[in-house]
Symmetry: C2
Subunit: 124 residues, 2 copies
């Protein structure tokens, strides 16, 4: 929970069960018990998964009587998409530039924001 937002999102989606929950929540909101039903684990385990997704900003919970319906939040997806697209594009550009020749680059580019320890600023 102390990690940066991007790490939290990627980390949250690194688990197949959590990805499946996201897939199901994209179709309809659901309660914890409903979400837990198809899986072979306890409700508590699912509750923990949900907390991970929530900390990552992927879902939110409201209150409605004693149930707490979970809903998917779409905004945070953009965070990932932006990061991915940025480097995918760069990588592809390098390819099409027959890069090999230009391997000796500006030389002050590998001196990026090095995340010494975990880092917190910049798009990383």
């Amino acid at each position: 929970m102390t990690a940066d937002p991007l790490s939290r999102v990627f980390s949250a989606l690194a688990d197949p069960t959590r990805r499946d929950m996201v897939a199901r929540l994209a179709v309809a909101d659901a309660t914890v018990n409903e979400l837990a039903e198809p899986y072979d684990v306890t409700v508590q385990a699912v509750s923990k998964h949900l907390k991970v997704l929530e900390d990552a900003g992927l879902v939110s919970r409201s209150r409605e009587a004693q149930r707490r319906p979970v809903r998917l939040e779409a905004e945070v997806f953009d965070l990932m998409t932006k990061w991915i697209e940025r480097y995918r594009r760069q990588a592809e550009e390098r390819y099409s530039r027959l890069d090999g020749l230009l391997a000796t680059m500006p030389d002050d580019i590998g001196t990026n924001p090095p995340p010494q320890p975990p880092q917190t600023g910049a798009p990383t």
Copy 2:
């Protein structure tokens, strides 16, 4: 390493140091020692990070004398992008549909591919 491809990629990018390596490799290929230089960890640790990225299909290593230059592979990015876009779109559609009303959906949709254990097929 026994995990499915999507889990491997998301998991690989959940670490800020590995994301920074990807960012730097998007600019230029590099050797393990070059990559390790800006970080405050041993070369062995960086070598491990590289293995994670390699297992995820994000980088490849060739051989050139005794050094093994690392290059970024762009293809696997699409895997993530497709997954993300699919569910982001679904989520946004639900929003614009003033979903609340249609909460009682087709009813055979939460019955997706439930990943009982880890799962291996389908786009997940």
